[in-house]
Every structure is written in C-alpha cells, then in structure tokens.
Amino acid sequence: MSGLEDLYREIILDHYKSPRNQGRLESPPATLEEGFNPLCGDEITVSVLLEDEIVTDVKIDGQGCSISKSSASLMSAAVKGKSLRQIATIVRTFKSMMSIPEDEAIPFVGPDDPSNASDPPILSEAEMGELIALQGVVKFPVRIKCATLAWNTFSLALKKAQDAKIAPSEAP
C-alpha cells in the first residue's frame, strides 16, 4: 500500500502489535489519569509512578487505533526511567513533530523551566530513537489527535503526581 509507509512504519506496526508497558499500576502509590478522544470515542488510562523526580514506571491501558496504541507504547518506552527535565524535552520534541503550537506550557515543569522557554531544547533526530517513527503522522491531520492522546494524558497524570507530592508540604 504505497504512500502509507510514513504513517504505518515498521516501528509503529511493531509497537501496535506488541505494545510495551501495558496495564495499570496500583494507585496509590501510582497516579492514574484517563484520556478521551472525542473524535472517535477511544479512551486511554495512563498510570505513572513518580519517585524523586524520576518516572520509575508507566503503564498504558485502553482501546484505540494503531496510531494511538503505538504512540502510547513508544511514549511509555521513551519516558520510563527518565527525569522530569528529560521528559519535558521528550514531550516538547513530540509536540514539535506534531506541529502543535508552542503556546501551551508543559504542565509538569515550572513556567521558568527551559522547556517552557520561547526556544526550548528538543531532541535531535539522532537522540530521538524510535520516536522518529511518529513523524509521518503530521501529514494526516485527523490522526494527530490519535497520536497525542497518550502524551496529553501522560502529561496530566504526571502533573497530578507532582501536585500530590507537593500538596501535603506546601498547603497553607
């Protein structure tokens, strides 16, 4: 099927057929967040375990199309074991691949963080690893929502985890 290689690269098909980090983490200690793609009705649950500014575990649950599932799987592999700072750069990289405008701050890093600067650091193609497989999606505007579903849900889960950590000590 010519023309589709961009969208359904081998890496994507691989992650779709054998998704990494499937399931749910126990909560607490993990944090769960649900995401919903109103365009198709697909739902996803992302569980995140944040320990000392490091995402030590992440799991994905739910239904979705091949793009959504493989994007979720690729994401989980990319962020697991990374620091918040590193993850911000990964998320920023993904967003720029999807041509998502830079006006939204990444929720789980402070507004002064370099990831939220006007010219934030993003990964080079060499540093991206398998993530680069997602770059074909941008040519299929309707499917961008599929690819971003897991990422947005993950970002919110991470923010939640962070707030839960901060809240007890910082509450007035």
Binding site: M1, S2, G3, L4, L7, Y8, L13, Y16, L39, C40, G41, D42, E43, Q63, G64, C65, S66, I67, F140, R143, C146
Partner: protein, 421 residues
C-alpha cells in the same frame, strides 16, 4: 429547470451498475484516482444540473425573498416558494405550500420540532419515547428540552439483528406524549416499521416525529401513508446542497407550535413590548432563508423524480445484496457486519468491523486505495454502546455506486487485513 433526460439504455438497468454516474462531475474532477465514494450516508454528491441551477440563480436572479416588489425579488420569491411546494409534494404532504419549514439541516428541523411542540405538549409529568438506534439529532434536542422541562425519556430497545424490538411497544407507549423514531438507521441500515409504530402510538394518544434524513433520499416517501405527524430531512444527503434542511409537520401542529428562532420574516408585527408571529410556515423561518440552496434542492428533487425513487430503491437493494455477500465471501470470519441481513428491510448503509483492526485504521488504509468510507460513532453513541463497540467502519451506497465500487471495497479490505497481519 432540471433538464434531465429520462431515456435509459438497457445496460443501465442491470441492477448493480451505477445509475448515470456521468451526471456527477466529482467522479471526473476530483484529484484522486481511483475515487470510490462510499460515504453518501454522511453526504451525497450532486449532479451537474443541481450545481448549474444554483449558479444560474446567483447569476441571473438573486435578491432577497419576500416583500420585494421589483422583478428579480419576485422571481427569487417564486423560486423559493416553488421549492417549498415541490418538497412538500415529494414527501406527500397534504398541504405542501404551508407545511414545509426550511431550516439549515435536519438537525435544526429536529430542534425546531422538539422545542416548538415540546414546549406546548410536555411538562415534568410527561414521557417521550425514543429508540436505541437514533442519531444524536433525534436524541440531544430532547435531552436539552428535558433539562428545561424535566420530563422522562424511554427507549425502544433493539433485537440482536439490529431491529427495533417492538414486543413491549404498548407498555412502552403507556403515558407517552411524543415519539421520536428514525425512518432508517444511519448505522445499521435498518428500515424501521414506522407506519406500524405510528398506528400504535396514535392509539396510545402519542404523536410521532420521524427522522427521515436517511430514508427520504433513497425511498418513495409519503407522510400520510406512514401516518406520522412530523418529519425532518436534509438536502445534502439527497443530491442537494449543504446549508438546507426542512421540517414537515401537519399544519395544525405547526399552528400549535411555539415560534423558535426570532427575527425578520417570522413576525407579523413587532412592538416595543412584544411581537405577533407570522402565519405558518413563515412563523418558523427567521432571517434570510437559504434561497440558492432551496433552488438547488428543488433541482435535486426533479432529478431524483426523473429517475424515479422506486428505481433508486431497487438499485440499492440489489447492490446491497451483492455487497453483503461479496463482503462475507471476500473476508469470511474476519468481518462482522452489523444490522439486518435481508436487503429488503434495510438501506444501503453497511457498518462493519474488521477483526482486530480499528475502524479508523480501516478507513485510513482504504483511503490509500481510493475507497472513501467513514469510521467512527456516526453520531449514534448510545447505539455504539449497544453494539459493544467504540466505533464502526461504514460503507454507504447511492445511485451513482455500482458493483465495481463494492469490488473495490472488498479488495481494499483484503489488503488492509494483509497489512496488519
């Protein structure tokens, strides 16, 4: 206006070959080869005559309708009113020139009926009866009014093969004031036994609103024979332009209904302390109506009539029969087809699932083969939950489709399967 030749060669009468596809410019002019359009349940394409009628209108006659004394305003008004009467006749309205209200689409027509009559007939003690297979257009307007008035909503359930389960209909109808039911499902294809429902509803003292968006484009429609009280339809699904739909209702009901949108044309008088509504149907047509769209839709009606709705229905039944068996033969266990199997009791709308392949991936891969099918919940989320799926892929056929389109669909689905294996 619609200069359509009605001569047919015998080859065109072969049931599964398209009816005059050559009348539809998009099949030549789209920048995509091949172009297998299987999404007419979302929106149809239109024949050249319809585009020409609108263009001619804008180039030679356009002026705002009503109140204009000068010639082109009178002509525009005459064309607009002729479209109204023609549409009324097309669906067998007893009083065609007074019973058709033009709206922007079927959805507005449903809202107009629900708010207009619902506010007269319903209160916190009332019950409305809908079905599990309704399009959101025949669900959400009722839910909005329910939030305002607080009545109850009941639903007619479905049988396993996707038909309305009428076994408890009389109990369901008990105490019901208004029934909303689609004439044909946009997901399952099911043609509902609306005449029978209407008869029993009337015995129970309820009025029946029919959603005709998927039925009227494909079948001879006669609201009197159906025995319903009101009907919504939409132009773009029946070879007409976007931007126009209509409500038909018995004129006594239109008289009874509250005005909905307020503004110019729908009033007889406005004082600083209030207004007097205009006579029907103008009472419901606030502001400048879709004039060119009415002209285009009327031409589409003429075109459909010149072919004959029976012939279109016959074509679709045969094509659906062909498609159902070609899909099963070509894909075997890998495909699940929703809805009734008997082509005589359904429209040419085929929803299906390909084993372990998400409908959006199906649609995406089909697009690469030039095959356009829709994937999603088709604005029928409650039905999706009944079917136990988040979405389906849906191929829908119309008079310009033929067996070669079905063959292309089956071939593309096979490739799709191979791709994800």
């Amino acid at each position: 206006m619609a200069q359509v030749s009605t001569t047919l060669t015998s080859s065109e009468l072969t049931p599964t070959s398209a009816i005059r596809r050559e009348d539809f410019p998009i099949f030549n002019e789209v920048e995509q080869k091949p172009f297998v359009y299987l999404d007419s349940a979302s929106s149809s394409q239109r024949p050249l005559v319809v585009l020409e009628a609108m263009d001619r209108y804008y180039r030679s006659t356009h002026a705002n309708v009503h109140r204009g004394v000068y010639r082109i305003a009178e002509e525009a008004t005459a064309l607009y009113e002729r479209a109204r009467t023609h549409l009324g006749n097309f669906i067998g309205a007893p009083d065609p020139s007074r019973e058709i209200v033009f709206t922007k689409n079927a959805t507005e027509a449903a809202n107009l009926f629900v708010q207009g009559l619902g506010r007269r007939r319903l209160d916190a003690t009332s019950t409305v009866l809908l079905t599990h297979l309704e399009h959101h257009a025949n669900l959400v307007p009722w839910m909005i009014l329910k939030e305002q008035l607080g009545f109850a909503i009941r639903y007619i359930p479905l049988t396993d093969d996707g038909r309305l389960d009428l076994s408890d209909l009389d109990q369901l109808l008990d105490g019901v004031s208004l029934v909303g039911v689609s004439l044909a499902s946009n997901v399952l294809g099911t043609i509902n036994p609306v005449a029978a429902i209407a008869e029993r509803a009337h015995l129970a003292g309820a009025l029946v609103f029919g959603d005709g968006a998927q039925f009227v484009p494909h079948n001879t429609t006669n609201v009197v024979e159906l025995g319903i009280d009101a009907l919504c339809i939409t132009g773009h699904k029946m070879l007409g332009p976007t931007g126009i739909g209509a409500l038909w209702a018995r004129h006594e009901l239109l008289e009874e209904m509250q005005p909905f949108l307020g503004g110019g044309e729908m009033i007889a008088d406005v004082r600083l302390d209030g207004f007097t509504p205009n006579v029907i149907p103008y009472k419901f047509e606030a502001g400048t109506p879709p004039i060119a769209e009415a002209v285009g839709w009327e031409c589409a009606l003429s075109y459909l009539e010149s072919i004959g709705m029976e012939k279109i229905r016959h074509h679709e039944v045969e094509l659906t029969r062909y498609a159902l068996s070609a899909l099963e033969e070509g894909l075997g266990d890998a495909i699940t087809i929703f809805g009734p199997r008997d082509p005589e009791s359904r429209g040419a709308v085929i929803s299906f699932e390909l084993k372990e392949i998400h409908p959006h991936d199906v649609s995406q891969l089909l697009d690469q083969e030039g095959v356009c099918v829709r994937a999603g919940h088709h604005c029928a989320k409650p039905l999706m939950r009944q079917l136990g799926v988040a979405a389906t892929a849906r191929a829908s056929l119309y008079l310009y489709n033929g067996h070669e389109d079905v063959d292309a669909l089956v071939g593309a689905l096979q490739k799709c399967q191979a791709f994800f294996r």
